[in-house]
Amino acid sequence: MALPPASETQISHLGRLWLYLLAALVLIFLVAPVFVVVPMSFSDERYLSFPPESYGLRWYRNYFASLEWTQATVTSFKVALLVTLLATPLGVAAAYGLYRSTLKFSNTVSLLLISPLIVPVIIIAIGVFYLYARLNLVNTVPGIVLAHTILALPFVMVTTTSGLQQFDDQLERAAQSLGASRWMAVLTVTLPQLRGSIVSGALFAFITSFDEVVISVFIAGGENMTLPRRMFSGLRDQVDPTIAAISSMLIGLSILLLGLAVAFGRNSD
């Protein structure tokens, strides 16, 4: 007895078995590295090993007890939050302006703003380092925030622009015909419609800053060392199992943020 067809294409589940297996393999391959870290973080041993021979919360305790780690975490949160607050309004305004613009050079401006997505980060990092050295911005919170905003801006722009492409331009005109100034129409009609895109752009901006390493290696040292930079240093000197504990917590945070982004995406429908 054959299984019922999987879909209107009349192909049975059995006929598709190879596809399901391939998809499962790809998924496992994608997430396996992430989930190797989690058991490792609960190791009770002095060195990173997989699978661990004994389990405990030793490295989690170590993390919370270490001033270096917690300070770096606070710095990272502070920077990421400031980047989000800076990149989101700038990115939304840029996306809206360029989307509406009829100027000939608006495509060029758009490309320039998106370019940090394409240019290798190491090149931006070197440029930023030499520029900020002159401006005395190296190893300062404003410096890190500005550099991360360069990277985060394209994400906000891309999500906002894709939101605008689904937005019915007539709605803004309707608002104007009903007595709203252009500014008022954008505020009360356009932006609420783009809420989902803007929130997911903001989350992208946050994550971009929060796990940025390359630029941070150049300009986020000393007192204002960020968490990824601290982790990077920790890996270079000796493999510190605390990193596995932090990574596990970051995975948890990422899942939470992703869940939020999905929830907001649903709400905006």
Partner: protein, 368 residues
């Protein structure tokens, strides 16, 4: 302005006359609008009718303030409006795709223009309630927009456009997304609402039947120019040119020859009920104006004979195709009443037809 003369309300005083003076809109070297001038009376229901790309929507956008004309002026109640931004014009507008705000409830959509005008809360509630009553949807105030049908959305859009008592109501093909039955019902409803409110209304459509049904006057626009402005009746019975004759209603165009003192078709002198333009060259025959010939019609009718080629049965009416020689064909539309059917020969049979002189329309152009 015939119908609303009888139906008056407290709001008529507010309706404003509009003067459109020499409006021209060019994009590079394309003339979207070419020297358009119109006078629209206070409380009039005026329809802009034309094929797509004729400039009718551009003219509406110029009126709404979304498009800046290259030349010309718009005056509302004598006041210059040309450079005034849309939100300061105080015109209500209904869009083709409804343009309701999906993140607001029905109530909040209608309350939007009132909130912008800082009306007190209690007043907003009352006014929204009244607008909902006018469109017979009072029970839907708390609905989400996505939970409405097309017809309901259009009514809500209408309520939102009139709730703030605008001086002018602009409508851009508001019914084109609805199916035929609902569209016809809404035509009557919108016209009735107009008569209740007495608001100056400018309505854009490409549907000639809709224009004939709803309007006080119709402006036929073609290629950015005004082709004819007239009442529905006059426009249909006395089209000023071949474009209007062809665009409004069905018509067969036949070339006529000019002789001293008159016109002939296939050698027969044509009787016409009114003065004929000097450059006439084509005869316009409306299929429903043709009748089977009866004795004694020679006096005031033009006569045709031919062979019945085919009959298309369309339910309420039938369309007969009659070959009248020289490769010319006439279309005749008849009701499907049994008496008509009885008089109609089998295809291939001979028919004698007559067209009253008053229904004989001559327009410009042609080859003969």
């Amino acid at each position: 302005m015939t119908r609303d003369a009888e139906t008056h309300t407290e709001r008529t005083a507010q309706a404003a006359p509009i003067a459109i003076e020499n409006i021209t809109k060019t994009y590079d070297d394309f003339h979207a609008l070419d020297d358009v001038s119109l006078e629209i009376g206070a409380g009039e229901f005026l329809t802009l009718l034309g094929p797509s790309g004729s400039g009718k929507t551009t003219l509406l956008m110029v009126l709404a303030g979304f498009t800046r004309p290259t030349r010309g002026r718009i005056l509302v109640a004598g006041e210059e409006m040309t450079g005034v931004p849309p939100h300061k014009r105080d015109f209500g507008m209904v869009f083709q795709n409804y343009a309701l705000f999906p993140h607001m409830s029905v109530f909040d959509n209608i309350a939007y223009p009132l909130k912008l005008r800082r009306h007190p809360k209690a007043e907003i509630k009352r006014e929204v309630g009244r607008a909902l009553e006018l469109v017979h949807l009072s029970h839907l105030a708390s609905r989400r927009i996505s939970a409405l049908s097309g017809g309901q959305k259009q009514r809500i859009a209408l309520a939102r456009a009139i709730v703030f008592e605008p001086r002018v109501l602009l409508m851009d093909e508001p019914l084109s997304a609805l199916d035929k039955n609902l569209r016809e019902q809404m035509q009557i409803e919108i016209r009735a609402l107009h008569d209740t409110l007495g608001i100056t209304t400018i309505y854009v459509t490409h549907d000639q039947r809709e224009a004939l049904t709803m309007s006080d006057r119709i402006v036929v626009i073609d290629g950015g120019r005004v082709s004819q402005v007239d009442t529905p009746r006059a426009l249909y019975d006395r089209p000023a040119n071949a474009f209007v004759a062809g665009f409004i209603g069905e018509s067969t165009l036949l070339p006529v020859a000019r002789t001293n003192g008159g016109y002939t078709f296939q050698g027969r002198p044509l009787k016409t009920g009114r003065a004929v333009r000097p450059d006439a060259g084509q005869l316009v025959v409306r299929p429903e104006k043709l009748v089977f010939r009866d004795p004694g019609q020679e006096e005031d009718h033009n006569l045709f004979e031919g062979t019945l080629q085919s009959i298309v049965y369309q339910g309420d009416t039938l369309l007969a195709r009659i070959e009248i020689g020289q490769g010319r064909t006439l279309l005749m539309r008849k009701t499907t009443h049994r008496d008509v059917l009885a008089r109609l020969p089998e295809p291939g049979g001979e028919v004698a037809l007559a067209l009253h002189a008053d229904d004989t329309i001559l327009v410009e152009g042609g080859t003969a």
